[in-house]
């Protein structure tokens, strides 16, 4: 009698402490544990502080950089380049992708160009971009835009092309105008893949902006990382690394929220 009762209670208890809650706790606990081990190892002299500074000294550097306003300068310039490059790349990427998805003609004409140039590593053409746009801001914005345009273009095109035929039959049967077919069918149907393109773009844009700032910039997170390394202020370099990571995480989170707001039917 006793045995089975306790086992049922045990099951209930496990249910109250859901798997999701456990996951959340673990996500917080695991980095804390890693950081603690790291800090201890540094203090015990197990790691060379010149190359791998302790978490506390990195935090101190972060506070110092924040107070001097230096960090914000770098963040804001990188953010500005990223956002502008994103818009300049995503808008034509969407429009051309749409055109290629809808028109066989456009596809036949543009697809060879897109396929041939897409595999070029974007950072490889930075010298060319600087030749065309100068060493100033325009070249940074341009290189991000170029990285973003392909991903948004290809995803939008696929999104449009994979719309089920039956949806077009429905639109036609109910006498939808071209404008309504676009706003009620083509655009919402391709939104999930457009967002997939934007998500991929964030990662690529971060790689490109940091690399470009390594090579040719006087400010920005990439510049902070690179000059800190050159001058062996390794704490600052780590601050830069953390900031760029946080930027990526925050941008992805914002995009996810936006997607949930605009693509509510995809939830669950």
């Amino acid at each position: 009698m006793h045995g089975p009762l306790t086992s049922i209670e045990g099951k209930k208890k496990r249910k109250r402490f859901s798997a999701a809650a456990r996951d959340r706790v673990l996500t917080v606990v695991s980095p804390v544990v890693v950081l603690s081990i790291w800090q201890c190892a540094s203090q015990m002299g197990l790691m060379d502080a010149r190359f791998v500074p302790s978490p506390v000294s990195i935090a101190t550097a972060a506070v110092r950089l924040t107070q001097s306003g230096e960090l914000w300068t770098h963040i804001s310039i990188s953010l500005w380049r990223l956002s502008l490059g994103f818009i300049v790349g995503a808008v034509p990427g969407f429009l051309i992708g749409l055109l290629m998805g809808l028109s066989r003609w456009a596809r036949a004409i543009l697809d060879p160009l897109v396929s041939a140039t897409y595999p070029i590593p974007k950072i490889a053409i930075l010298p060319l971009i600087m030749l065309l746009f100068g060493v100033g801001e325009a070249s940074k914005v341009a290189i991000i835009a170029i990285a973003v345009v392909y991903l948004v273009l290809l995803n939008t095109m696929t999104g449009v092309m994979t719309i089920d035929r039956i949806y077009f039959d429905v639109a036609k049967n109910y006498g939808a105008s071209w404008r309504k077919t676009f706003t009620r069918l083509i655009f919402p149907a391709s939104l999930p893949l457009i967002f997939a393109g934007l998500r991929l773009s964030i990662g690529v844009a971060l790689i490109v902006i940091v690399s470009a700032e390594f090579l040719a910039a006087k400010a920005g997170i990439g510049y902070l990382i690179w000059t800190s390394w050159e001058t062996l202020v390794i704490e600052n370099m780590f601050v830069g690394l953390i900031v760029i990571t946080v930027l990526g995480v925050v941008a992805t989170a914002i995009l996810r929220e936006l997607e949930q707001a605009l693509v509510p039917w995809r939830r669950e």
């Binding site: 919402p188 149907a189 509510p264």
Partner: protein
């Protein structure tokens, strides 16, 4: 004959459809002639590949015939378009809420939002889905989705409803329930219906007439009058002797067609 022609809602004469293929053409429909009266419920039954869906798509204006003609006569009884189609599964827009799916045809015709929602709500009530008006189709079961599809077509208030195996994917119990709802809606609105199915039972249960089609090429082999009155009880009707007799007759007719098509297929 003259009287019949006068009340004809749909007149199809010598209609053929040939799909041009890369290697050889495929004749989907051959010399189809059919007249559907105003307010009539006509079932079309036939084996897969007999071109019944193509015939319906031509009626819906989604395909053009290769030869022959098809005419639909407006009676001016309804405010809506001449026809609306109820598609097979998965034709609801997943990104629109149920209410907006039902109101879709009205929106396309420029009916203001408040008015079209009001109308859509009436239809949702008729198919018993008022509670789900704010849901997305992905949150509904297959049976509910098809009821929404039917509501969408009725909401647009067409004179003719063209239905392409709308209940084929439903389980047996759901099918009977939705058939019943469909019949009630039809009896209330007295619209002309062309209903495609591969189920003999369904064709008999719902239709005033059953058109039997054969394949290779797709053509009409027989047209039967269904002797059951209205309104019909979909369960009781199955117990009638005439039901099983006609159903067996259609079965033999289709079987002969399928066997003939198989021998043709071998060549």
């Amino acid at each position: 004959m003259a009287v019949a022609a006068m009340s004809a809602k749909i007149a199809i004469e010598g209609l053929s459809k040939i799909f041009e293929g890369r290697e050889r053409d495929f004749q989907a429909l051959d010399n189809i002639s059919l007249t559907v009266a105003d307010g009539e419920f006509v079932s079309i039954v036939g084996p897969s590949g007999c071109g019944k869906t193509t015939l319906l798509r031509i009626m819906a204006g989604l395909e053009t015939p290769s030869h022959g003609r098809m005419a639909m006569r407006r009676s001016g009884k309804s405010s809506g378009p001449i026809s609306a189609m109820v598609f097979q599964e998965h034709s609801l827009y997943p990104w629109l809420r149920v209410i907006d799916n039902v109101a879709f045809g009205l929106e396309m015709r420029g009916v203001p939002k408040a008015e079209r929602h009001e109308r859509a709500n009436v239809l949702l009530q008729m198919v018993g889905l008022s509670k789900f008006s704010r849901h997305y189709p992905g949150q509904l079961s297959g049976g509910m989705k098809q009821r929404v599809s039917i509501a969408r077509a009725f909401a647009n208030d067409p004179e003719i409803l063209l239905m392409d195996e709308p209940l084929a994917a439903l389980d047996a119990q759901n099918k009977v329930l939705v058939q019943d709802e469909l019949l009630r809606l039809w009896e209330m609105t007295k619209k002309t219906v062309v209903y495609i199915t591969h189920s003999i039972d369904e064709a008999l249960l719902l239709g005033d007439r059953v058109v039997i089609m054969g394949s290779l090429p797709g053509r009409i082999t027989e047209v039967l009058d269904v002797p059951f009155g209205r309104p019909r009880d979909l369960i009781d009707i199955r117990a009638e002797k005439a039901f099983s007799e006609i159903s067996v007759h259609i079965w033999h007719s289709l079987e002969a067609e399928v066997l003939r098509a198989r021998t043709l297929d071998l060549h």
